[in-house]
Symmetry: C2
DNA sequence: CTCAACTGTCTCGCATACGAGACGGTTTCG
DNA sequence: CGAAACCGTCTCGTATGCGAGACAGTTGAG
């Protein structure tokens, strides 16, 4: 049946959950069977188990199945345990040790980025990316790095119209979807995102997405530095180290290695 | 093995996930085996499947297991599919039809309530509880109803100190944990929460928690009315209808019936 | 330093779950 | 209106997964 030994029913149930999590609305049982290449009777049996456990709701009136409250509770539990922070701290500490510049870890939160970790290098100034701070994703290197690693449809969904391109004081950033798309294409080509003085004068940031097992940008690691303090070879080293540590964190969360 | 027929490995895997979701930090495998009365070798096998699927992370350095990114994605997927809104809309529509007063559905979001649905009765004034609005839970009937249905430890965790009791303009509400606890005890005794002119002068609300399969307050249904328009028997009917519809929504999300 | 406790892996006999396919009911489409 | 498609349930022969318990390595306590 499935590739790994033992508990194929458990594996199939988890595949059903993951598939449901990726849908925008409940789906028919037959869709699950065909999408996941599972026998129909097995799908019905597993859906029964998932419904009993509260992970799935059966919308009998529309003959579809969607996620239940227990799925929400998994998300809450994830937030409570803060695995990205737990795994991210040592990785960022090592990165900052090596490059002697400040770094932070952020995740997407709607159209914003949310900063989970800031690791400040000795004698470097405090950053706006303090823990708990949210900033519009399209104005930050971390946000651009994660947006660049998402499917185009997801980016479009996040930025459906001009109103989505919020301004923040005098900051410059993309104000149309076309400009954003160009920046994302450049980011993918380059292999990392750049933010140059958009947030704080004199400072620049580079960021790389951290990819999870499903190929999704679970987080981004960014390094911030005074732009006058680094020549081109020095910047290249910052990039290389940031990419390497993003891959390491990706590996630790059970992800795939390359964001772009 | 387990009570329901078929797929006991799937059921056990889901129990492991739910147990992990309820912990505040990663746990050792042996704890899962004893807490869930599962054979040790089965727990290790299932953890292997859960790790492969990204639902669980193995923190080998501390020999513990915690939730992984796929758990977070289930929470996101739940939010996207909005099952509480889908199931809640018809229940609130029916309630408003019967009592001819406005009603809304809210969930907890940290220390706030978040309004998901507002069903306004004909010719009744608009409420502050518009969809998407957040208000401090301790100042609202819906929030009080849900807090009353939580374990005391959870309430304490949400309100650790005086700073947690945010003020909102001239509104009156509990400003100490002792006062909050007394209000919650009264709410449990009474069977519903009352908010009388705290939010809007002349208006009162009653609310009842909607309980999920795990006994947790997944949401609350509240009814808002002009306090001068209802005598005591009329209010009793509002209470009874609100309780009945809260139980119905609880049933539809696969919950248990009684909040207090 | 030693021993007990714990962690994680592995084996294999046996009991149980899987899934092809039938069935009855419901919904949809021409 | 009738037929096709779909949904959800059920059976049962067969293949497979489960789990008790052994084992080796690691960690912690005295």
């Amino acid at each position: 049946m499935s590739i790994e030994s033992g508990a194929p029913a458990a594996s199939a149930a988890l595949r059903i959950l993951s598939h449901l999590a990726a849908q925008s609305r409940p789906v028919p049982a037959a869709t699950l069977a065909s999408a996941l290449s599972l026998p129909r009777s097995s799908v019905y049996k597993l859906l029964g188990v998932l419904v009993d456990a509260g992970f799935v709701l059966h919308f009998a009136d529309i003959r579809r199945y969607g996620l239940g409250i227990a799925a929400f509770e998994l998300g809450s539990g994830f937030g409570r345990q803060e695995p990205l922070s737990r795994l991210g701290h040592p990785v960022l500490a090592l990165l900052v040790d090596r490059i002697v510049e400040s770094a932070h870890l952020a995740v997407m939160h709607g159209r914003d980025v949310l900063y989970l970790i800031e690791e400040r290098a000795p004698r470097k100034q405090a950053l706006v990316s303090d823990v708990g701070v949210r900033l519009p994703a399209h104005l930050t290197a971390s946000g651009i790095a994660m947006l660049a690693a998402m499917p185009a449809a997801q980016v479009r969904a996040l930025f459906p119209d001009a109103a989505a391109f919020t301004r923040r004081g005098e900051e410059t950033g993309p104000e149309t979807y076309g400009r954003l798309r160009r920046i994302l294409t450049e980011t993918r080509t380059r292999g990392f995102a750049i933010e140059d003085q958009t947030i704080t004068p004199g400072l620049a940031s580079i960021a790389v997405a951290v990819i999870d097992h499903a190929g999704w940008p679970a987080a981004a690691i960014a390094v911030t530095f005074e732009r006058e303090s680094h020549d081109e070879p020095s910047r290249a080293r910052l990039v290389e180290e940031t990419q390497r540590h993003a891959r390491e964190l990706s590996r630790r969360i059970g992800g795939v290695s390359s964001p772009y």
